[in-house]
Each structure stands twice: as structure tokens, then as C-alpha cells.
């Protein structure tokens, strides 16, 4: 983020996004809502992974939990949807706290492996609990308030909520807490030595990331009016990790860009061939081999090199 300078382009993008649904077919409006939802999810993952240095390998489980909590409250328990939308992310944050407490004692990949396997337990429960979660069918036709029931309504709701969530995440990451978190990422031992409570900071970051993933889950319920168990499956979690990696995981907006690329590719590749996962695997391989800093990371790198060349020249 380039400080004050980046405000103007952001504002332009915001204005563009406000007027876009009037000139686009319904499907594309839906697609943009989906991209922003996935982008928010991927950004919330990057909150823990890129900025916190925590190997949050099963982030999708919090997304799915937030979505399922809201969906079950609306469709099975008959609560007010608005109330359910608030509770959903809180349930995700609570799950994140519980799983965090179990996993946080382990470091790095060990943490990630345990999290990914514990998350698959949550998936298994959702998958089998027919009476409550709809089992492998999921829950469809969830009624949302009529104000945000249309494609356009859902679009604006998604934009506003995702925009707020992104703003809050940005502020948190640029607060003293965020700096401490990045300090821990770069050198946990040194942070510990100067009196930082490493585990508590990491746990807080995990809970926040889980909360924002839950927000993304609620947005998915609004956009798609359905939930299904694959939202908590580990392959989805790794897909959003790919989004963050592809966009650039030391940049704030990278994951959003990565989500846009992946969702668009999936939509268009799927119309040509049924082998989307194959294409995704090849893409991931190429990114790891040739573009490990991600698209936005690369752009910044080139930009920095050019400006420094100008200064020297």
C-alpha cells in the first residue's frame, strides 16, 4: 500500500463497482459478488498466514462454519436472518479460538498439519449430521431479507460488508498489534525476548482471521442462498491459499487479486473442460516455480526497481 497516493485509485474502483451492476448481465454481477466474497476470505487467510506467519492451512473450515451457523439458524431454527448474520461470524471466531488453543502449542507446519486434520473432523460432522446440517446435500434456498434477496441487492450488501471488513483488517494490520504480529512472524524468539506474549498475539490473530472468514461465509449465504459441505473441505482451504499465494501474500490486496484470477479462470475453464483441478494444479506449480512472490508482489518489485533506477539515473 502506497499510503495517501493509493486512495485515489481505490476511490475510482469503488465508484466503478457502484455502477457496474447497471451495465452488466445478472450472471456477472453474481460473479463479482462471488469474487469479492472469496477475496475477503483469502485476505482473512492472509491476515494469519502472510502477516502472522501462522500456517493456517485449513482456513475454509471457519468460512464454512460461519456460513453453516447462519444458514442453520435461518433455515432450521427460524431466527431473524440479520441476527443470524451477526452470530455466524461469532461462531466461526469461537471455533477458531478452540482450534487455536489446541494447535497453537505446535509450530509452523506441525501446526498446519494438525489444523488441517482437526478441520476435517468438523467437515465429517457436518457431512454426516443429516438432521441438522442437511448432510452432503447441504441447505438450499435459504431465505434472506428481501432487501438483499435480489442479485443486485446481494451485490451491494457484499460490497459494503466486504469493504468494511477489508477496512478493519487494514487498520488492525497497521495498528501496534499488527506490527507486533509481523514482528513475531519475522522473529518469534526475539519478540518473546523483548516481552511480547507470542502465543496470545497469535491466538488473537487466529480468532480475528476466523471471524472475518465467518463474515465471508455469511456473504456467501447471501450471494448464493445455499451452503454445502465442500465449503469446509480441505481442498477449498488450499484453493484459497493458492489465491493468496498467486496474488502475493505479503501484500494487502494481493489475495483479492488472486481470488479474482482464480474465480474467473474457474468459471471460464469449466465451460471448456471438466478438468479444472488439473488446470489449477498446473497453475499452482507454475506459480511456485516462477512467481513465488505473487502477481502483486512482482508488480511492486518491478515498480520499486524502476523507481530506484530513476533515482540513480
Amino acid at each position: 500500500m502506497g499510503g495517501k497516493k493509493s486512495i485515489i485509485p481505490l476511490l475510482l474502483v469503488a465508484i466503478l463497482l457502484v455502477f457496474l451492476p447497471f451495465s452488466l448481465p445478472r450472471f456477472y454481477t453474481y460473479l463479482i459478488s462471488l469474487i469479492v466474497t472469496m477475496g475477503l476470505l483469502s485476505t482473512s487467510l492472509n491476515f494469519a498466514l502472510g502477516y502472522g506467519g501462522i500456517y493456517q492451512l485449513h482456513h475454509g473450515v471457519f468460512y464454512g462454519t460461519g456460513a453453516y451457523a447462519a444458514a442453520v439458524m435461518i433455515a432450521k431454527l427460524g431466527y431473524n436472518p440479520w441476527f443470524a448474520f451477526i452470530i455466524g461470524p461469532l461462531v466461526a471466531a469461537a471455533l477458531s479460538l478452540v482450534m487455536g488453543i489446541i494447535c497453537i502449542r505446535l509450530s509452523k507446519l506441525y501446526f498446519g498439519m494438525l489444523q488441517i486434520s482437526l478441520g476435517s473432523l468438523v467437515w465429517a460432522i457436518v457431512y454426516r449430521w443429516y438432521g441438522f446440517t442437511g448432510g452432503d446435500d447441504g441447505i438450499h434456498g435459504i431465505s434472506v431479507p428481501s432487501m438483499i434477496g435480489s442479485t443486485k441487492g446481494a451485490y451491494y450488501f457484499t460490497m459494503i460488508v466486504a469493504g468494511l471488513a477489508m477496512f478493519f483488517m487494514y487498520r488492525i494490520l497497521h495498528s501496534p498489534f499488527g506490527s507486533t504480529l509481523q514482528g513475531i512472524r519475522d522473529n518469534a524468539v526475539r519478540s518473546q525476548a523483548i516481552g511480547v506474549n507470542v502465543r496470545r498475539h497469535q491466538l488473537t490473530a487466529l480468532v480475528m482471521a476466523g471471524f472475518f472468514a465467518g463474515v465471508a461465509g455469511v456473504l456467501f449465504v447471501v450471494v448464493d442462498n445455499s451452503v454445502f459441505p465442500n465449503m469446509l473441505f480441505w481442498t477449498l482451504s488450499l484453493e484459497i491459499t493458492i489465491m493468496a499465494l498467486l496474488g502475493g501474500w505479503f501484500t494487502f490486496l494481493g489475495p483479492m487479486l488472486g481470488a479474482a484470477i482464480i474465480v474467473l479462470l474457474r468459471t471460464f475453464v469449466s465451460t471448456v473442460t471438466e478438468y479444472w483441478t488439473f488446470a489449477l494444479g498446473i497453475l499452482l506449480m507454475l506459480v511456485i516455480l516462477f512467481l513465488p512472490e505473487g502477481v502483486l508482489g512482482k508488480v511492486f518489485e518491478i515498480w520499486k526497481r524502476r523507481t530506484s533506477a530513476e533515482i540513480r539515473g
Binding site: Y55, L57, I102, R105, L106, K108, L109, Y110, G112, M113, L114, I116, S117, L118, S120, L121, A124, I125, R128, W129, F233, W234, T235, L238, T241, I242, L245, Y275, T277, F278, L280, G281, I282, L284, M285, I288, L289, P292
Partner: protein, 298 residues
Amino acid sequence: MDFISAFCSPGVLCQILLGLSRTVILFIVASGLSLILGVLRIPNIAHGSLYMIGAFMAYTVSRMFGGGITGYWMAILLAPLGVALVSFIIERGIFSRLYEREHIMLFLLTFSFALVFGDLVKMVWGAEYRSVSMPRFFQGSIPIFSVPFPIYNFFLLLIGPTVAIVLWLIVNKTKMGKISRAAAVDREMVGAVGINVSLVFCIVFVIGCFLAGLGGALVAPIVNVVLGMDHTLIMEAFLIVIMGGLGNMWGALLGALIFGLTQSLGILIWPQFGIVFPYAAVIVVLSFRPSGLLRSTW
């Protein structure tokens, strides 16, 4: 007393035996994972895919040889070798160039293989259910306290300890095994004394993947060979390795034992959510021993 007599009933005994034969499969796959994790430090998420490929290869080989007893033995022999060949190609082709990278990158690289393999299997074998016919030799069952117990599962109970012993001999008694254990602790040092570490890594990786293929080939006659059979198995293998201690082969055995038994007995207690029990066992184990039951090589 009611509880004890219920616990000793033939049904429970049979379930324990089934759990033990499940343990064998889990152990074979998890020990390969653990080996790679211990030496190369990669949580190879494509391990499950290699297990699936092993099962599909077993299907093809046994069909090629007419499906009888010869077909079965050829499948057990050739399918793991085929998987080992695949793993050799990806190790030499891609992994060996990237060992210097961060571990999370290597982990994601194995994920890209899992994605590609999943679709390759779909391209080659299709999305339908396949089943490997059980040779007549293994058909039928032996009654244990009047409850029939399939012969094939007895066969698996013999295979498990055999694999464990062979693996122990390779790791502890051969020069290769000793070098790999040293490389697990300090790869620079091992390289500095003039050993080709890259080659050692390659051999370890191929052996680990061979075990995944063997697990797949062994399980093929008793399950539906189908796309997606890798998805739950890899998570189970992860948990077993974490529970037992990363990179520790006996830990993998112990973990598989706990996992297999809690799973099979859990189904008796709570049929719909039997799957919860092994996970609960993992959480209990880790709350007392955060780094696993046995000493980890990390």
C-alpha cells in the same frame, strides 16, 4: 459386569480384528508419509493420491492377468512399483530442484500434485466405481466364536508386521537408512562429508511413495476403488503421524493402532459419528504429549 461381558462379545472381538486390519493399511500408508516427513520435512499431501493411484493400478494389473490369484499377486507386486516410478519422476523432475525453498512452498507443491493426480486418475480410469476381484484363495471366512471373519483380513494382519520389520531393517541396519537418519538431523553436515544428499532424499521419497502404493494395492480388494478415496485417508495419515511423533516409524505404528481401534470400536458405540472417536483420541494424546507419543525426529 454387564459392560465387561458386552465388551467380550464376539461382535466386539470381530470389530477389533477389523480395526486391526484397518490399522495395517493405515500403518503402511502413514509410515511412508512419516518417512518422507522425517527426512525431507515435507508433509506430502499427494501421498493420498499415490495411495489412490496404487489402488487403481492394482485394478488394471489384476484385470490384465485375468483377475485370478496370479493377477492379484502381480497387482500387489507391480502397482506399488508403478507408484514408485511416478514418484521417482516427480522427485527428479521437480522436487529435487526446490529443496531450498520454504517448507510451505514444498507443501503447496505437493498439493498441486494432488490436484493434478486427482484429475489424471479421472482421465485414465474414469469416475466410476471399480472393484478388484478377490482371488478364490482369500475368499470365505474363518469363524471366530461363531462370528465369520474374512480370510483376507487375516492376511493383512500378517502383512502389517512384515512391512514394519522390513522397514525397521532398512532404516536401522542398512547404510542407506543410517545416512537418511543422519540427513534428517543435519543435511548440510551429511553433504559436507561427501554424501550425495540429493540422491538419499530421492531414495527416501521413492520408498515412502512405494509404501503409499502398497497400501492402495492391499486395500483394493476390500473397498470400492473410486475417485476421492484419497481425500479422507490423507487426513487420517496426517493425524496418525502427528499422534505418533513426526518421522518416527514406531510412532506411526502406534498411531495407526490407536486410530484403527478407536474408529472400529467407536462405530459400535455411536454408529453415525464413529469418526469422532479417533479425533478425540488425537486431541487427548496431544494435550498430554504435544509432540506426539514417541520421540519425533524434528
